[in-house]
């Protein structure tokens, strides 16, 4: 059972209370962008086997979107952080690096 702590209301929610929202930190492209940029934003995904940053919604709780860092190969959760973050907080990145020395880092 996957459990994530909502960074807003502090509730440790298990997955039936949550809705998954796919890869986080996608750079949005709109009018004026190239086809390749828009295609990349809309469809191409990292889909890594390992450390993954993703969007979740506390659907049956406070209803807010937040972000999480999780290992897709082990289902280990590294931490959650607010949806307003442009990139994963440095302390979370350091924590992941300590646990996964071979991790290529956030990019």
């Amino acid at each position: 059972m996957l459990t994530l702590e909502c960074p807003y209301c502090g509730v440790k929610a298990e997955e039936t209370e949550l809705a998954a929202g796919g890869e986080a930190h996608l750079k949005r492209y709109g009018p004026g962008s190239s086809d390749a940029e828009f295609d990349g934003y809309m469809f191409s995904r990292k889909n890594p086997k390992g450390v993954h940053f993703e969007r979740w919604r506390h659907a049956y709780g406070c209803g807010k979107w937040f972000l999480a860092a999780r290992d897709t190969a082990t289902l280990e959760v590294f931490g959650t952080y607010p949806a307003q973050s442009k990139e994963p907080p440095p302390e979370l990145q350091a924590k992941i690096k300590a646990k996964r020395p071979n991790w290529e880092g956030y990019k």
């Binding site: 059972m1 996957l2 997955e15 039936t16 809705a19 998954a20 796919g22 890869e23 086809d35 390749a36 828009f38 295609d39 990349g40 809309m42 469809f43 191409s44 995904r45 990292k46 889909n47 890594p48 086997k49 993954h52 993703e54 999780r70 897709t72 190969a73 082990t74 289902l75």
Partner: protein
């Protein structure tokens, strides 16, 4: 190289020596330094691709590399359903090609894949679903795929154990494909592996691809746990790990990997001789030749490579099926497992050239790949040998950029 054919005569002959002298079904050779074609992934789709490269195009200097064991991924984890009742023309073409190849597969491969065209029902349980399936029936008839819309009474006649008057999800009719059914999934992989081996191809198991060597935009070969293997053309046919392999070659795919689960009950006496899919409630069920009720459910919502799904999905599936099949409520479940499915945005597969010259990709079959194995292999082999195939034209990985979706998420509901 030629392997001895299986036949009643062969069984009688081997009985003389107490069945001690059967030769191995396929060879396990060490990899050669270079092949014309390397296929990564010895599941159904990869082996079928190799088989049709040899059979249809005479390309037999081929290696199929598998990180685990043959057919140990989704090929051995699905619910073995075969059907071709898709809405869109490109899908109907490739799935019907596959279904028709299943009809003669046991003879073609000299290997009993136990294809059982027992008939398949997709239940209409809401007015919207009824309208959707009727539309699919009309489309199928134009496509040359034989399906029909049948009444609730006919459903009850075909499936006596079904409850058609459920208060919440009554059965309002069904889309019926009489030549849909099931096959023995492992045997499909084994049969293709044996046929490939007989043509002189190398099936190399327990060998993981750790890198893809690309020079000047052209593929040179793959780095593996058994060293470098060179090739002129590379086929990536690895389902749930497609993104990982594409990353090694330096490009991205419109794919996300999710866990899909299935389960089987304890064996019971024969009670249902068709396949029933109930897409509104996320469940589908058939009875195996051993008597187990084989049940498939929905996917998890989050990226996952663990081949373990969430328990609540199993619970939802079973809860919904119990309403439609009240008599299964006291069945004990024997086993439950998960597989990693490669989902595209439009729920249709990708059979395509890639940004790297010489690399071809076959993935994105998502929750419904088993039924497509022979058609997928047939089309992929043509694509790799000739550079194009009428069956794969619409399934390019660039269709998303062009907005040319093959939208089957609506047509197929959820289950495959």
């Amino acid at each position: 190289m030629g392997l001895k054919r299986y036949s009643a005569f062969a069984i009688a002959k081997e009985a003389m020596s107490y069945h001690q002298n059967w030769e191995r079904a396929w060879r396990s050779p060490a990899p050669k330094p270079k092949y014309d074609v390397v296929i990564v992934g010895a599941g159904g789709h990869g082996l079928a691709t190799a088989y049709y490269l040899g059979k249809n195009f005479g390309i037999t200097n081929v290696a199929i590399i598998e990180k685990g064991w043959l057919g140990g991924g989704n090929t051995g984890r699905n619910t073995t359903i075969i059907r071709s009742n898709y809405l869109q023309d490109p899908s109907a073409a490739i799935y019907e090609k596959a279904r028709s190849l299943y009809e003669t597969m046991s003879q073609d491969l000299n290997y009993n894949v136990m294809f059982s065209p027992r008939g398949l029902l997709m239940l209409g349980q809401t007015e919207h679903e009824v309208r959707g399936y009727k539309r699919t029936v009309y489309a199928n008839n134009l496509q040359g795929v034989s399906t029909e819309w049948i009444s609730p009474e006919k459903v009850k006649e075909l499936v006596p154990i079904i409850n058609i008057d459920g208060p919440r999800y009554p059965v309002l009719g069904a889309l019926y494909q009489a030549r849909g059914g099931t096959a023995r999934h492992d045997a499909v992989a084994w049969g293709y592996a044996r046929a490939c081996s007989a043509m002189g191809m190398d099936v190399i198991q327990q060998t993981e691809v750790t890198g893809v060597r690309v020079e000047g935009g052209k593929v040179q070969g793959v780095e593996t746990s058994k060293g470098f293997i060179g090739c002129d053309k590379l086929g990536m046919v690895v389902a749930g790990h497609a993104s990982v392999l594409a990353d090694l070659a330096g490009f991205r795919l419109p794919i996300e990997s999710l866990a899909l689960q299935a389960l089987v009950s304890e064996p019971i006496k024969p009670c249902m001789d068709v396949v029933v899919m109930a897409n509104t409630v996320h469940g589908y069920m058939s009875q195996s030749d051993k008597g187990e009720m084989v049940i498939g459910g929905g996917t998890d919502g989050f990226n996952n490579y663990t081949q373990r799904g969430s328990f609540h999905h199993v619970e939802e599936t079973v809860r919904a099926l119990i309403e439609t099949f009240p008599m299964i409520s006291r069945l004990k479940m024997l086993r439950q497992w998960g597989g990693i499915v490669d989902m595209t945005g439009d729920r249709s597969p990708i059979l395509s050239k890639t940004p790297v010259d010489g690399i071809f990709v076959n993935c994105g079959w998502g929750t419904g790949g088993f039924k497509a194995i022979p058609g997928s292999g047939w089309a992929m082999a043509e694509l790799m040998a000739r550079g194009q195939s009428p069956l794969t034209e619409e399934f390019s990985m660039y269709r998303f950029r062009e907005g040319k979706f093959i939208d089957e998420s609506v047509a197929a509901g959820v289950a495959h």
